[in-house]
Structure formats: structure tokens, C-alpha cells
């Protein structure tokens, strides 16, 4: 029966039915075929999203939206400018550093991609042309789900169950995220050098740095309060996200004074709709998972994989190759929702550190958001800036390759990922 459900899902999805509904319809087919009472649908659908930890997703989305509406982009850009204005490809470096700053308050690559595209590309393209500008922005947006907070990591931890905590996943992303920032900036420097982009931007001066530090202080206090509070034990991730909302409201109303009461309904509705897309997929995927479990598929799959290889490294490589292909074609949340419950338990039987496996899984699918043909970050950047998909892909591939190289390094040097969370007791 599992096979029928899988083929039904693939068929419907290929014909363009939204993934949540494809999952639901194929589960419905499976239930009818196996003579199940259809009354099992509503409890599965409802209970799979009835979870306090999952609530952090809309809350972090609200925080991110409020921060943007509150005018943090401008402060981040000024801040980055004070440091790297005179480096090769200076303005592009500013975009990367702003992207990193944005990533530390926002949890989603899609939101970051639209914010960076709308605010930075107009000035970037005057220096570097549309192609390179959008490539930089797309790469910077991918920092969003790697540097905490991270919606992707919340979904992963939720699907993996009690062996992976959200806080632990967040901390696993910190060091690789910072390394990735450095890698992207170096690559940007190299490309600018080869192409001989002109030196622009303001001179680096201590007084300006201090001035910008003072202005951006309130922005960077937010990850310190929220992520620090989650890791340090002041609150659970969901509570932390709610604290973030309150913080962003205070910031927008009283510090930057850019937020209007009239902005709030739009922010809340947008966050609700975006989380509902993830929620719908979790809800309907859980009906498929129910059928798989009843059909004992996870056990069979684990047996099959174990037969294939006994080496944990080989297993990691196989999973990585699979995810590269999956990342090309599937929206990443759908991939977590469908694949984590199957592969996470197998990784544990191989003795792989759950946080190590989790981070590699997330990182791989985050890169997938940049790979054609299905790459949501590409879609967003194209949609907002009007760049041609082909041109964007041509300019993004060096960054994509760099990310895969970092992924491989993280695979063979687990310490990069696990040292910090282990140090903090996760």
C-alpha cells in the first residue's frame, strides 16, 4: 500500500496539485484502498499541528516582519557599510553582512530574500549590474535559516521528536553560519578582484563605526535577548519567539518610530498565512506518515538502508546525494516533513550525533532553495528584481558550490557543528 500512496503522491504533485493537497488526496486513496475508516483523518490532521513548540514558527515570522517594517534594514546596511565600505566589492560585502545581521533576527530565507532584494538590489545593480547583485542577495538570504533563529530548524526538531531540541539545532548552526559568512565574503572579494569592480563606499573610520554600533545596538540586542534567553534557560523557544514579538514592537514603536498601528493587521495576516502553508503540509503529511507506519514502511526502509551500507559516513554521503536531488525539485519544508521521520531514526541507529545529522540535513535543503529548477529563493529574487532566472543561476553557482564544499567539510569534521551545542550542554 505504501508504494501506491507514494506513486499517487508523486503523480498528483507532478501535475501541479499543491503539495499539502497531494499528500492529503494520496492518503485518502490509501485509506480507501486499505478499507480504513476515514474518521482517522481529522484526528491525525488536527493533532499533528496541535503543538506548543510548533507555535514558534508564526511567532518568529511576526518578529521578522515587524523588524523589517520597523526599519531595521536601513540600520543594518549603515552598520555593515561602516566596516566593509572600502573593501573590494564593498557594496556587495555590505549586502552579505546585512544579510548576516538580518539572519540573526529572522528565521526564513524567503522573507530575507524579499527584504534584501527590495532594499539593496536597486543600489547594488548600479555598481555590479543586475546579475551579480541578485546572486549576492540570493546567497545572503540563505544565511537566514542557518544562523539562528531558524524556521527550518524548528520544523526539523519537531519532526525528529524528542532527541533533537530547537535550542540545540540553533546552536549547531552558529559556527557553520559564521564560517559561511566569511566564505561568501571571500568569494565576493575574489570575484570583484577578477572582474575589477571599482572601490566605492565610505572610508572606514573609528568614529563612524562607534556611531553605527550605537545605532544598531538595539537591533543586535534582539538575538542576544531571544536566542540567549532560549539557550540560557530564561524561556522555551516558543516563549522566546513571543518575547521577540514584544521586543520588535517596542523597537518599532519607540526606538525607530517607523512602525504604525495600521501595519499590524497586515503583518499578523501575512505571518499566519505563511505558517499555514507549513501547517497544512505537516497536517496532511501526517496522514501519509500514519499509513506508512501502519504499513511498517519505516522498519523496512531502515532494514534496506542498513543492508546497503554499514558505514555511517557512507550513509551520510548517500543521504546528502539524495537531498541534493530532492532539493532541486521539492520545496524544503515539504522535504523535512516527509523525510525527517524516515531518516532521522536510521541516522541514530548508525550512531551519528543527532545534531550533526540534523544540521547537515537542514544545510543541504537550504542550499536546495538556490538550486534550479525548484528554488524558492530564486523565485522570490526573480519576482522582485525582475532578473532572468538563467542570469541569476549563472551568477549564483560559485556561491552554491562554496556552500556544498562547506557542507562536505561539516560532514567530515563534525566538531564544527557539534562543538558549540555540546559545550552548552545540548
Amino acid at each position: 500500500m505504501s508504494l501506491i500512496v507514494i506513486f499517487l503522491f508523486l503523480g498528483l504533485a507532478a501535475l501541479g496539485m499543491p503539495l499539502a493537497f497531494s499528500l492529503g488526496v494520496s492518503a485518502l486513496g490509501g485509506l480507501v484502498l486499505s478499507g480504513f475508516d476515514l474518521a482517522v483523518l481529522p484526528p491525525r490532521i488536527m493533532n499533528s499541528v496541535n503543538s506548543f513548540p510548533l507555535m514558534s514558527i508564526p511567532l518568529f515570522m511576526v518578529t521578522g516582519e515587524l523588524m523589517l517594517k520597523g526599519g531595521i534594514m536601513e540600520r543594518l546596511v549603515d552598520f555593515a557599510n561602516a566596516f566593509v565600505g572600502r573593501v573590494r566589492g564593498g557594496l556587495a560585502q555590505v549586502a552579505l553582512l546585512s544579510g548576516a545581521g538580518l539572519a540573526s533576527v529572522s528565521g526564513a530565507a524567503v522573507a530575507d530574500a524579499s527584504a534584501l532584494s527590495a532594499t539593496l538590489v536597486p543600489s547594488l545593480k548600479k555598481q555590479y549590474g543586475l546579475g551579480f547583485s541578485t546572486g549576492i542577495v540570493a546567497a545572503a538570504a540563505n544565511l537566514g535559516p542557518i544562523i539562528p533563529p531558524s524556521g527550518a530548524m524548528i520544523v526539523y526538531a519537531f519532526m525528529a521528536g524528542s532527541s533533537v531540541s530547537v535550542g540545540g539545532m540553533f546552536m549547531a548552526g552558529v559556527i557553520p553560519g559564521l564560517i559561511l559568512v566569511l566564505v561568501l565574503m571571500s568569494l565576493c572579494w575574489l570575484i570583484s578582484y577578477v572582474r575589477d569592480y571599482p572601490l566605492v563606499g565610505e572610508k572606514v573610520s573609528l568614529s563612524n563605526i562607534l556611531h553605527q554600533l550605537r545605532r544598531s545596538f538595539v537591533v543586535f540586542m534582539m538575538p542576544i535577548v531571544v536566542i540567549g534567553g532560549i539557550v540560557g534557560g530564561a524561556f522555551t523557544p516558543t516563549e522566546g519567539a513571543a518575547v521577540g514579538v514584544v521586543y520588535a514592537l517596542l523597537l518599532g514603536f519607540f526606538v525607530t518610530r517607523r512602525l504604525r498601528l495600521a501595519d499590524l493587521p497586515g503583518v499578523l495576516l501575512q505571518a499566519a498565512k505563511t505558517s499555514a502553508i507549513v501547517g497544512a503540509m505537516i497536517a496532511y503529511a501526517s496522514t501519509v506518515t500514519f499509513l506508512f507506519t501502519i504499513d511498517l514502511l519505516p522498519m523496512q526502509l531502515a532494514g534496506f538502508v542498513n543492508q546497503l551500507t554499514e558505514s555511517p559516513t557512507m550513509f551520510l554521503i548517500l543521504v546528502a546525494l539524495m537531498l541534493i536531488v530532492v532539493g532541486m525539485f521539492l520545496e524544503s519544508n515539504a522535504a523535512y516533513i516527509m523525510l525527517v521521520p524516515l531518516f532521522h531514526p536510521i541516522a541514530i541507529t548508525y550512531g551519528i550525533d543527532p545534531l550533526h545529522f540534523g544540521f547537515l540535513f537542514v544545510f543541504n535543503l537550504v542550499i536546495g532553495m538556490l538550486t534550479p529548477p525548484v528554488g524558492v529563493v530564486l523565485f522570490v529574487v526573480c519576482g522582485i528584481t525582475g532578473v532572468k532566472m538563467g542570469e541569476l543561476v549563472r551568477e549564483s553557482w560559485p556561491f552554491i558550490v562554496a556552500m556544498y564544499v562547506l557542507l562536505i567539510i561539516c560532514m567530515f569534521v563534525p566538531g564544527i557543528v557539534t562543538w558549540l551545542p555540546h559545550r552548552l550542554g545540548y
Binding site: 504533485a13 499541528v49 499578523l268
Partner: protein, 165 residues
Amino acid sequence: MERVFTLVLSRVDAVARVVLLGCMTVMIVVVATQVLMRYAFNASIDWADEVSRLAFVWSIFIAIPLGIREGAHVGIELLINKLPRKLARQVTRTMLALAFLLMCVVTYEAVVVAYETWSERLGAINISSSYFFVAVIVGSAHAALHLLHLVLHPLDEHGPEYPID
């Protein structure tokens, strides 16, 4: 007929948006207050967990239909974009009709389940735990309406100004 359907749907959407705003607000206020109570008063609200989850579940199922028309629910459009226009249109309508069928089944079954489990109470507030299922009923029925509208009156017959979201 089409005008009436459209009008009804846009009214339902408007109500849904108001309910959705309420749910999101309750969620944020309750969770944030829980933190405040803990640190400022060393106290805790018994019903915070259940009420915030109720608001969250409601917000998800209420928001699902609102994303349908704008095509927010991700799908793979690779193949469909390669098909001849007329065929693609028929395929899309068929897919939407199947999704409509799914939503009808879910709505009906959720009514059955809510009815059968109505006697089950929540732990900290004394209401039926089936209010969680009511969210599924309302959201799925609303989604069914949206899908039916799209089957009967496909988007490409109208301009982008079509007055529903």
C-alpha cells in the same frame, strides 16, 4: 450565480481574516504574558498552554483557505507549464476538483469525530476538547468553497483584479 458565489466567498474571507487576527493576537498575548507572569510575579496561568494551542490550531486551519486563491500553497508547476494551454487548464481543474473532494471528506469526517468525541474535556479549562476539531471543520469547509470556486470559475478567465483573496 457566479456573482453571488463570489460575493458570499469574499464575505466569508473577511470574517475569516477577523477571526485569524483574533487568534494570532490571543496567541502572542497569552504566551508573552505567561513569560511576564513567571518572571515578574513568580506565577503561572494554568490555561495558557491550552488556550494558546487552541488559538494556534485555529489560526492554521482558518488561514489555509486564505492562501488557496493566491496560489500560496506550494506545488510543482514544472510539468504543467510545459503542457499545451488547453490541456494544462483541464489538468489544473481536475487537480482542484480532487482537492475539493478531499476538503469535503475532511469536513464531513471532522463533524463525525467532533460529535463522537464531544464528551472529552480539556484539562485546565472546562470546555470540550473537540473545539480543536471545530477549527478543522470550519477551515476545511471554507477551503472547499474556495476550491469549488476555482473549479467552476478558473482564474485565467478573469483579470488579476478579481475581488477575492
